[in-house]
Symmetry: C2
Subunit: 386 residues, 2 copies
């Protein structure tokens, strides 16, 4: 059974990555079908805090750092294009982000970011008097130093979701919700489409952008080592006491989303697909947040939720081709899906429409896991906060 007309590209997964790619490909004239097991962008994309942290998150130089910086640089134009096309605000703001150190050890860890200056990337070392001048009494007086990254920012993940949904409709992408992909349709080492409960969808190219569910096809000749890493987020209303920049300690961050609304995150927990808010995580997030930004104690609790990030053994995404012709990956974005959506969409679209593999995706191919070179897990166990 072949259902519907054939597509140029079938994308498995209607999250931030799948929809960004669909939009990009449709903008280049491709017929795109998105298969989404639930509703679009209701999983990790919806649950994210919307932090655009490239410099402050990735401590070491390398291909991943470059990718993150490139994507962050795309954001202003990408966000305004999306807003212009759809009439929907996406809440992008270059708020800056300050990482805070409570003691000498944490200060020393911040120094580990200073190499970025040689790359010409802006950052500012703020000692206690600067912090006091910048934040008055709003920041904990126990913070002894901070590193400010003025070009980091935030986006509102739910607004972004809505805008991207409008955009793909406008561009003629066919989105099939509540349509779970069962497996890739592979014959003679060539991917011909996707098999769903309702039948087969033929496509010239298939992209796995299924987030935490990217390993859905267990019959592939190689492993797709993606598994859910739960992240819990708390939404608070701080009113006039909300920070105007992202404030980040070792334990927690506060991401201002406008109107006094602040998202506090997050946990890193390997707990399967249980998208549950736990009392332990909630309590620890709130205590850590209040330690960093004391007004949190009197802030109104609005709600809390959990999302499932697509984690990989080395913490890096899985991007590009895989040895099976016609099958591509745009998966495993872990905590960086919102940030990396523009660059992922662009590079995977280049790959699909240009034909040749982009050399800067070489580090991210799924094949890297076959060699046993994968590094240690970025998650040391359940209940790790980050």
């Amino acid at each position: 059974v072949t259902s519907g007309r054939a597509a140029d590209v079938a994308i498995v997964g209607g999250g931030v990555i799948g929809l960004a790619l669909a939009r990009e490909l449709a903008g280049r004239g491709r017929r795109v079908v998105v298969l989404e097991r639930g509703e679009t962008a209701q999983e990790a994309s919806w649950a994210a805090a919307g932090l655009l942290s490239a410099q402050s998150d990735v401590g070491v130089p390398g291909a991943f750092f470059d990718l993150a910086i490139e994507s962050r640089a795309l954001y202003p134009a990408w966000a305004s294009d999306l807003e212009a096309e759809t009439g929907e605000a996406v809440g992008y703001r270059a708020t800056g982000l300050v990482r805070c150190a409570f003691d000498a050890g944490e200060s020393e860890a911040l120094r580990g970011f200073l190499w970025q200056r040689e790359r010409g990337l802006p950052l500012e070392w703020w000692d206690a008097p600067v912090l006091a001048a910048r934040f008055g009494g709003a920041l904990s007086p126990d913070v002894r130093s901070g590193l400010f990254f003025p070009e980091e920012g935030v986006v509102d993940p739910r607004k972004l979701t809505r805008a991207r949904g409008v955009s793909v409709r406008v561009r003629g992408v066919e989105v099939r919700s509540r349509t779970a992909a069962r497996r890739f349709w592979i014959e003679d080492g060539r991917c011909l489409g996707v098999e769903t409960e309702g039948g087969r969808l033929a496509a010239d190219a298939v992209v796995d952008a299924a987030g935490a569910w990217a390993a859905f096809d267990r019959e592939l000749p190689f492993a797709v080592p993606v598994e859910p890493v739960r992240g819990q987020i708390v939404e608070l209303d701080l009113g006039g006491s909300a920070p105007d920049t992202v404030v980040h300690s070792e334990a927690v961050y506060l991401a201002p989303q406008g109107g006094g609304r602040v998202l506090v995150g997050s946990t890193l927990e390997r707990a399967g697909f249980a998208r549950v808010v736990t009392a332990g995580a909630l309590g620890a997030l709130l205590e850590s947040a209040a330690r960093l930004w004391p007004a949190v104690r009197t802030a109104r609790f609005v709600t809390a939720w959990a999302g499932l990030r697509p984690g990989t053994p080395d913490g890096l995404p899985i991007l590009g081709d895989c040895g099976i012709r016609g099958l591509y990956f745009a998966a495993g974005h872990f905590r960086n899906g919102i940030l990396l959506a523009p660059v992922t969409a662009r590079k995977i679209a280049d790959l699909l429409t240009g034909g040749a593999a982009s050399p800067d995706l070489a580090s991210f191919r799924v094949g890297r896991f076959r060699s046993g070179r994968a590094g240690p897990s970025p998650v040391s166990g359940p209940g790790v906060f980050r």
Copy 2:
């Protein structure tokens, strides 16, 4: 303007106290009208954790202790009568309650309850081996001693609310929701009824059972020193890890409500009428609960809410007559409204139908505040947890 037919008794306040009294009076053949500013039992009665703690809450002998013990003794029959009359379960269970001490100072404080043995009230001292045998590893191993009160229990406040609503309807009580009392209708030192926006309601007797709003009539010739004391509660789903008894530390309690559901409380905050859940309280409650009962860390967070208890300067209720003929108080029950509802209903009904003041209400008359003999506030400041 006089609205509606006259009542034998008009009760201001449709919370647990007002409705319990209405039910009792209607059962004695009186025509009762209840005036409720919002919806019945949506304030403190709805927000309570449902703890029936008489022995474990009141540390000192006296009239209040006697009142609490008397009301607790009424509970089993009162609950089963209500269930039989209405067909609604109220979730009453004599679960027992264990107060836990983490250190020598807290253990010493528990010894302060041992005088109750002389009164013939049951309690059991549990040292660490007994606690370990009773709870296995579920209770924190840091708890060094406990005092178990086997006759304490819980009721489900929301089920109780529903059942009492059915009961008063069955008994012909007229409940006027969204009807705020503006002031008492007093002429020549005699209370003739209640004034509302819609007009006057004439009644032979009027009872102020308005909870945190009991001081609504600022024109009385004496002060009614009731003010809201906010309490925040967290609902968790502990599944099979829920305690089967109430577990109580200095900082927090866990009240099992069946089906793995546990209510964690509570704060004592003077914060006006703002019924807000704050991040600080939520975080502290969860951390304290997890310290006492470690399974809390992995428990599912369900929801959190805040209620406004009617606090008084000495922490005791305001019961009985007041010097103005026809005007009575059943107010200021602070943290004990659910527990004290049966005894309050009985004694105030005795007073209204028998005529003579019950001598055991003498300690609770509103007149005690005129003499300046009121003790210190039971609340030492905002953010106190109890």
